[in-house]
């Protein structure tokens, strides 16, 4: 241990600061670091635009096998308007999870039974991508 500290003392090299950093730039970079830390996209998440969410959801529902694409509208109800049953509704919600890349908890998923409700839920969810 003692030998090590002697060695380290012996090997110590004076560090010359080559470039004097510009004080304003250090301030700016530390400010940016703080901003990144507290306001980063990962932490805060972003809310998707409602019209974009609507378009994507309509697309997913139209691609669902049993759905007649001409019947799909932004305020269609899965069971009343699209003629789907509760099992199909589960499948659609799972397809929406895949489209938007996040997991919808069971109690929320049970409530989603129309395109309007799906749009409301997904556009208010910060993790939807």
């Amino acid at each position: 241990m003692a030998a090590r500290s002697v060695m380290l003392k012996y090997l110590r090299v004076p560090v010359v600061q080559a470039v004097q950093p510009n004080p304003s730039s250090t301030f700016l970079s530390s400010f940016n670091a703080i901003r990144r830390r507290f306001y980063s996209e990962e932490v805060r998440g972003t809310f998707l635009d409602k019209s974009e969410v609507t378009d994507r959801i309509i697309n997913v529902v139209k691609n669902f096998q049993k759905v007649d694409p001409s019947k799909v509208s932004p305020d269609a109800h899965f069971q009343k308007d699209l003629g789907l049953d509760s099992l199909d509704a589960v499948e659609i919600v799972m397809a929406l999870e895949e489209e938007f890349g996040f997991e919808i908890p069971d109690n929320e998923a049970d409530k989603i039974n129309s395109i309007g409700l799906a749009v409301d839920f997904i556009s208010s969810h910060p993790q939807a991508k």
């Binding site: 509760s86 099992l87 589960v90 499948e91 919600v93 799972m94 895949e98 069971d106 998923a109 049970d110």
Partner: protein
């Protein structure tokens, strides 16, 4: 280990079981097994929609779900090195 309830499963419980199946199906690394599990679950739930003994069907479903989740782990240890041509999108 949960004791199988004697009363008929509620609608919400059945949908939850179905959702669990679809979630497990997604975990399979192999495309064919993944799609098969999904298809098998969908077919079975539709086939049993008017089943006379929902308790037995529900208990069977729960047992099968355990098998599927166990198999998903086993299959993940032997994941295929190449993707199936079916999952390649250009």
């Amino acid at each position: 280990m949960s004791v199988v309830a004697a009363s008929a499963p509620s609608r919400a419980e059945v949908l939850q079981l179905y959702r669990s199946f679809l979630r497990v199906a997604r975990k399979f690394t192999d495309y064919n097994i993944r799609e098969y599990t999904k298809r098998r679950a969908t077919d079975a739930f539709r086939q049993n929609r008017n089943v006379s003994d929902p308790c037995a069907a529900f208990a069977d479903g729960k047992a099968q779900l355990e098998v599927a989740s166990r198999q998903a782990v086993v299959y993940s240890l032997y994941a295929p090195k190449l993707k199936s041509v079916m999952e390649v999108h250009n």
